[in-house]
Amino acid sequence: MTSYLIRRLLLMIPSILGISVVLFAVLAMAPGDPFEELATNPAVPPEVRANLRASLGLDDPIHVRYVNWLFAMLRGDWGFSFVSRIPVDDLILQRLPVTIAVIGASQLLALLVALPVGIYAATRPYSIFDQIANTLAFVGFSLPTFFTGLLLILLFSIHLDWFPFVYRTQLDSTGWQWWWDQFRQSIMPVTVLGLFQGAALVRFVRSAVLDVIRLDHVTTARAKGIPERAVITRHVVRNAMIPVVTLVALQMPIIFGGAIVTEQIFRVPGIGSLLISAVLSNDTPVIMAVTFVFACLVILFNLIADLLYGWLDPRISYR
């Protein structure tokens, strides 16, 4: 097990290096530059523009820039944002709490919806409940988040005037009022993200449970006279959860990506909206850092999924 873990961790190094090379090359080849607004601003003399480019190392050849970036990264220096002129890691750390809160809440919501619905639908396949759940799940993951987001804004903010559609990080209120305000402004983005994730999960949970429920050991358990409730929770769900847990782990990075659009619509200042604004202003160090973090998350959660799989299912061994 330990040797397996070490081997996997060592294997991560070349993949992360490879990813960074590809990202860096793509960004360097992309058109546009961070001083776009300076170019159209007549008040800025060309010398200042040239000076700024030089001071940020934009005029060096690409391989020199890559090596500089890599060594700085190894020392823990993520570089300076061209646009904010502050360290990139500060920017990312500022965004992290909101991102984790919103994504965490939506993932929780997804699980809270998907598990009971998926399990109940699987125990009564092709019943009315199953049909409805299936249909709604299809509708849920066919509708993109930017569409459901706008739909919710139109309904709840504009027609009913219940919830604000601009997310504010620093609320004026304190105590219980603060929690209430926080709830009111988070509910729409969390619902949009959570239901989108949940819809896909419902289908997965249902099929996983259906696979297990037909197996012999379940029949045996029923024949022994164990109550149906105990059969489902102890003998079916526990086994069915093995693939579900790996799926949830593998989906985590995808959720970070999927949150980008939602964050933009509701003005949630998360990592996704940081990435969008960095892309729009050609702020290469920030784009590089955020995409790199995403890439690392994918690799990390892949590893976690593999380890969890073995832990849940003792038949799998690591060599």
Binding site: G32, D33, I86, D172
Partner: protein
């Protein structure tokens, strides 16, 4: 109308033999607009300059609650001398102040200065070589230190220090700043300078505290903690800032003006898109003010119908216009296309340019595409009104365009496309990706088709089109197309920097890495000469006449075709009283914003 008649009339107003109203009437008969006439009086000293430039401030007390402002672009840093783009200039302006700002009628309004320098009060030297600013007394920085002439002198040193990399450094070249005493500063120019109100004025002129920046006046400038925690003299002081998200400020209890500021706190939230920003103010009233709403007027009108807020339109000098290339984009000279050594095969014929101008239906473009956000204009230089030419006309007339082309010998050939001596009237017309621009392109293409001109439309992503990337062939300054269209911005109430876009030494070429401002690459000796003359002309009336002549020269050449003006459009709640200006930052007079009960 000659300059002499004008001068004669102004002289009579000054002597009292002609009333001001009589003056306005007379010059109106000569083709000048009323605002232009009043401004002429103001700049020549025949009328009080800043009488009505800023609306009266009514509140008698403070404590107006919270002010919430929404920007669809978020600010990312708070050092005004590093600010790239309006968002950052605006948010740093909440805390910092210049000596004077530009009111929307194009006159100066004193902020940290005790008064606006003029020849009468001895602030301006008659030879135009120096300007003396008297500073307001008793002004304190937010940390309690006194504001003095040292801070003003330091600001100039900091901004022009190449190691700092300030984006405002252009305003501090060719001048020397001298401290006369603790509350007087003299700016000395190398040459007679009629436009003296650049250094220490408006966006480029905000004063920063010497005691906090003195140790960061060099390559370590970006390490200054004050870059993210501003300490200024403004009406609101810093509370917190999350780059790319929210900026919070609170009332400065020691502000240097009585009863100000009105609001207890200010919050500027950034991000999202323009349409939903308009919605958050006009429809749901979650915010008090939304900035820069480049949204189709139809949508704004629908949102306004809710009755909670209104749309503010402030006219400035920004203009959307078309350029007809003077050079040939399809011939390569020493690896450079659109080289100044070539001539455009079709546009070198004035008849073709005149026909093109007749084929742009500005009235329809304005009415159906831009609405209130884009009134049609025949001029390149539109504002302040004293610089607006009365001589240009706009006309949409396909029949006349056809007639002119027929007469000039451009005969219809294959597929109805006109040609002459092997040159076909087939043009590539480029612009940035932007819905109103694409609709405008379509309108022009259809009209051109009816006159036997084929136009191929090309669109480039804005981040590429407006970049300074030397390696990219699609930037607007390279102009590798026959025609292009964009908005050029006028950032100051004085047109000198705006009109340098057509002088021969600014021609964009490989030699200056396409950084020259004369993108259309037009050359005209008379224009160069009168531009030089205007640079040193101290008489405001004569100077205005020179700029009007420049406008007439470039527009009259038809190498550029002005389409619509682009005023600043914003939204605010009905009870909010913002003070806005087209020549300065949105926050230029945030101290005077208030809310009606």
């Amino acid at each position: 109308m000659t300059e002499e008649t004008l001068r004669d009339l102004i002289g009579r107003v000054k002597r009292g033999s002609l009333s001001r109203r009589g003056f306005v009437k007379r010059v109106a008969a000569l083709g000048l607009t009323a605002p232009m006439a009043t401004q002429l009086l103001a700049v020549t000293g025949a009328a009080p300059a800043a009488a009505q430039s800023v609306p009266a401030y009514a509140p008698a007390r403070r404590g107006g609650g919270a002010l919430r402002i929404l920007y669809w672009q978020a600010s990312t840093l708070l050092n005004p001398h590093f600010a790239v783009g309006t968002t950052n200039q605006d948010s740093s302006r909440v805390f910092y102040e210049p000596l004077a700002g530009w009111a929307t009628d194009g006159t100066l309004h004193p902020i940290l200065a005790a008064e606006i320098p003029s020849v009468e009060n001895g602030g301006l030297s008659p030879d135009g070589r120096s300007v003396t600013w008297k500073l307001k007394r008793g002004v304190k920085w937010h940390d309690g230190q006194d504001f003095s002439a040292d801070d003003v002198v330091f600001t100039a040193e900091y901004s022009r220090n190449p190691a700092v990399g300030a984006t405002t450094s252009g305003s501090y070249q060719g001048l020397n700043v001298v401290k006369v005493d603790d509350h007087t500063v003299r700016v000395e120019f190398e040459r007679p300078t009629p436009f003296w109100a650049d250094a220490f004025v408006a966006t480029a002129g905000v004063i920063i505290p010497r005691h906090l920046f003195a140790n960061f006046n060099g390559p370590n400038s970006r390490d200054a903690p004050t870059n993210l925690r501003p300490v200024g003299t403004g009406a609101y002081r810093f509370v917190s800032f999350a780059p790319g998200d929210t900026l919070r400020a609170e009332a400065n209890p020691n502000y240097h003006l009585p009863n100000r500021p009105f609001f207890d706190t200010v919050e500027i939230k950034g991000g999202g898109d323009a349409v939903s920003a308009a919605r958050a103010v006009l429809q749901t009233a979650d915010f008090d003010y939304a900035w820069n709403l480049q949204v189709e007027d139809e949508i704004l009108q629908r949102l306004e119908a809710t009755g909670r807020g209104r749309v503010n339109i402030v006219e400035g000098g920004n203009v959307e216009f078309i350029q007809l290339n003077t050079t040939d984009p399809n011939v390569e000279v020493n690896g450079e296309r659109s080289s100044i050594t070539t001539q455009h095969p079709a546009f070198r014929d004035p008849a073709v340019r005149q026909a093109m101008a007749l084929l742009v239906d500005r009235e329809s473009i304005s009415r159906f595409i831009y609405g209130r956000g884009g009134p049609a204009t025949p001029n390149f230089l539109n504002n302040p009104p004293r610089f607006r030419s009365p001589n240009m006309r706009m006309e949409f007339n396909v029949a006349r365009a056809n007639e002119i082309l027929d007469r000039a010998g451009w005969a219809r050939g294959q597929g109805g496309i006109r040609q002459k001596d092997g040159v076909r009237l087939r043009f590539v017309f480029q612009t940035s990706v932007n819905a109103p621009r694409q609709r405008t392109q379509q309108i022009i293409r259809q009209a051109a088709q009816r006159a036997g001109i084929e136009i191929e439309l090309k669109t480039v992503t804005a981040s590429v089109f407006f970049s300074s990337d030397v390696a990219n062939p699609d930037t607007f300054t390279k102009f590798y197309a026959d025609m292009q269209m964009y908005t050029t911005t006028m950032t100051q109430a004085d047109p000198q920097r705006f009109m340098n876009q057509y002088v021969s030494w600014e021609i964009s070429s490989r030699a200056n890495s396409w950084q020259g401002r004369n993108v259309v690459r037009w050359r005209n000796e008379e224009y160069d000469r009168i531009f030089r003359e205007a640079e040193g002309e101290l008489d405001p009336v004569k100077r205005a006449a020179l700029f009007i002549r420049m406008n007439d020269l470039i527009v009259g050449s038809n190498h550029i075709i002005p389409i619509v003006q682009r005023p600043l459009v914003s939204a605010s709640l009905n009870n909010l009283r913002p003070v806005l200006s087209a020549w300065d930052s949105t926050m230029w007079l945030l101290s005077d914003w208030w809310r009606e009960a």
